[in-house]
Symmetry: C2
Amino acid sequence: MEEDTGALPLKDDFSRWYNEILWRAEIMDVRYPVKGLYVWYPHGFAIRKRAYQILRELLDRDHQETLFPLLVPENEFMKEAEHIRGFENEVYWVTHGGRNRLDVPLALRPTSETAIYPMYALWIRSHADLPLKLYQVVNTFRYETKHTRPLIRLREITSFKEAHTAHATWEEAERQVQAAVELYREFYRQLGIPVIVSRRPEWDKFPGADYTMAVDTVMPDGKTLQIGTVHHLGSNFSKTYDITYEDANGEQQYVHQTCYGISERSIAALISVHGDDRGLVLPPAAAPLEAVIVPILIGKRGQEVLAAAEALLCDLQDAGYRVHLDTRDIRPGAKYYYWELRGVPVRLEIGPRDIDAGAVVAVTRLGGRTTIGRGKVVEGVRSVLDRFADEIRTRADQEMARRIRIVDSMEEAAEAVRSGVAVLSWCGSPGCAGSIEETTDASILGSGSRSPHITLADQPCIVCGEPGTTTLIARTY
Amino acid sequence: MEEDTGALPLKDDFSRWYNEILWRAEIMDVRYPVKGLYVWYPHGFAIRKRAYQILRELLDRDHQETLFPLLVPENEFMKEAEHIRGFENEVYWVTHGGRNRLDVPLALRPTSETAIYPMYALWIRSHADLPLKLYQVVNTFRYETKHTRPLIRLREITSFKEAHTAHATWEEAERQVQAAVELYREFYRQLGIPVIVSRRPEWDKFPGADYTMAVDTVMPDGKTLQIGTVHHLGSNFSKTYDITYEDANGEQQYVHQTCYGISERSIAALISVHGDDRGLVLPPAAAPLEAVIVPILIGKRGQEVLAAAEALLCDLQDAGYRVHLDTRDIRPGAKYYYWELRGVPVRLEIGPRDIDAGAVVAVTRLGGRTTIGRGKVVEGVRSVLDRFADEIRTRADQEMARRIRIVDSMEEAAEAVRSGVAVLSWCGSPGCAGSIEETTDASILGSGSRSPHITLADQPCIVCGEPGTTTLIARTY
């Protein structure tokens, strides 16, 4: 729907690259006439559907999908004091229906604890109802006053996957926190996106939580992007909403809860981590099209090539591939450019010489060429796609490793956060955190991270010398 | 999450039956603390997902899925005068973000013309961009002041599938109206739901449309439920939003548009048309589980039966069936009751005698028994499911036929609408419509219906004797 005019900026100029690739690769249109609200183009939405299908399949193993209302009445919303303080400046309020003022203002959910937990109070009766693990994929709203940015900082988060679980004990809920972290790791592994998991400092935890684990990735400009959070809610909400179960002894007990979310920031990470100067680079699992066939229709054998390309299309479709045959009347080079921009993992070229050789040429989005015998094309394309998925995952892992630096001094830390994450030891005190954040002009991301890239053992605090914990420092989105 | 206490009311007592089956079969919970907003239970949501998957597959043949924002700024919303008059009393308004009053109030979309068409004005440039056929599945909002009812009359329509197309000419748009009607017919055919398609009278068309085609079904209480609409918008919106294309002669022309929608009323119809005194009856295509295996674990051969049931489960899962093995420690009869209430199409019983006979007993939700040889179980279950789908479709068609009556007099019409639809001829004048509606205490549904059940040729108007058109009269939801 848009003409490709001019070239994509280089990815080194990340902010411009990001803004341009969104419309050039037909991910989002930013011209909707309200700040912070954007339109998903069909191609962007198709990528979102693929990614969320992976997420749903992981969740569906032991969660159930459900759907709760968007509108939360003010009285329910205002029940949990700490939670409200965290959100009250960000909530959109519906005050009128038609020409009438509503008796009770309705909040557009910024997140759904206050919509879901009154129902959990009705649904949970006995220990046999536990654990309860539900999720929904919904639009949520934040009245962001900061600079908004497509997929990253939005007023309508269109694709919030939020899971809410209830358990008999605090320890069971803690195990669920770990399970959720592992689920998110697996989700991002399938997308080839490297992540760091850490425990957020007290002042940065979810309002109403006992603690928050966060999943971050490092963006090409060295800033970290939070792309998943997992919260241990303890019994804070169950006490507010009176969610109890009868235990084996017939006593009423408060449930212990967790909640965890992922939004379309996962798509922002997918675009940013893998993309390059020529456009999107999609892992096959998230690609609406795994392969595109470009027939080389030159010379007199055009009809023959077209027929061969159509036969190839049929064979691959029958084998279950998502594949498209590009028969447009434009030069092959223009087609290459078009599909590279949109991130299709593999291009299959077939021309007169390939027909004569009984072969098809597969070129990956990163330029790797493989000649596949026509008779083995179904297995051959699978193998090319699998290797390509490994290649971009490895490439992203190496990039992440390059951006994480163990530092010995505040000066080194200040240097390291300009291109990524600094790893140091910190005692946990807000005072020392203030020092670190001021000197580095960056934030305490979190502690207790386990990752092959973060090999620092706990050492004395870099500021005060008291016993410290391995801690990540970064500039954040 | 709920105990099954007491029995479902008889379906003849339809209104009570409907309200009770919603929670007993775990479709929706109506206890959410805002009028007209409901919670989807996982089982209800799983049915909704199946049905919408069918709808998406039909649309994806030549439409693309997309996603537009929920919030529409007042100035865009207020542009199309006729459209606004149709919705202004039903629109929810967001007036505050945090503690701030918004400069421009934001409407929660009641439908998305006013959100989508400003973008179409940017996207459509030339005839090469046409036809444009997009759809989205979204939540929409209506401040209903009438009696609300789950899935039928809602304040949050959680599952509005709306398609919006643009064409070069009025005639092309008209062909799209026909294509959309056929698409909806096919959708409902796959769900086994019989429909009547008719053209709504002028005063009942979509605000801003040239005309509206509607898809209705007849509910068990004889009232019709509108379960799909298709609107020819002409160039009414393209003139308001300035959506033009350059034709082959280089002239700017307004596009001609259509839009068409289906909501979770499709699920209300699915439940109501097929359900019976024992609970839901789901067509296999929309059933989260196609089959449930109930092992008959009596006597000494319990372990052997369980092993046989597990082997059966594996075979059916490997063959792609959605199937569950119910190993709960309760009586088989209680399991039958449980799964019948939830509408599972086929129950597979396997006990010691079946093992000895090398067979499995399949019992459909309507009671049909088939003994399938264990070696042919994969094909056997497919055949049972296919016959069951035909059986419930035929049953629903016959019920529909029974409820449509061609009438010769107003007295007969008044009688016919008490149990369904009266078919008569009407001249098209509002005066005669008023007479008909007053005498029958029912509404003009629409005209120009093509259906094997509606065989009346156009005759003189039943009121004034002027030339008339075959017209449907019914009490409506």
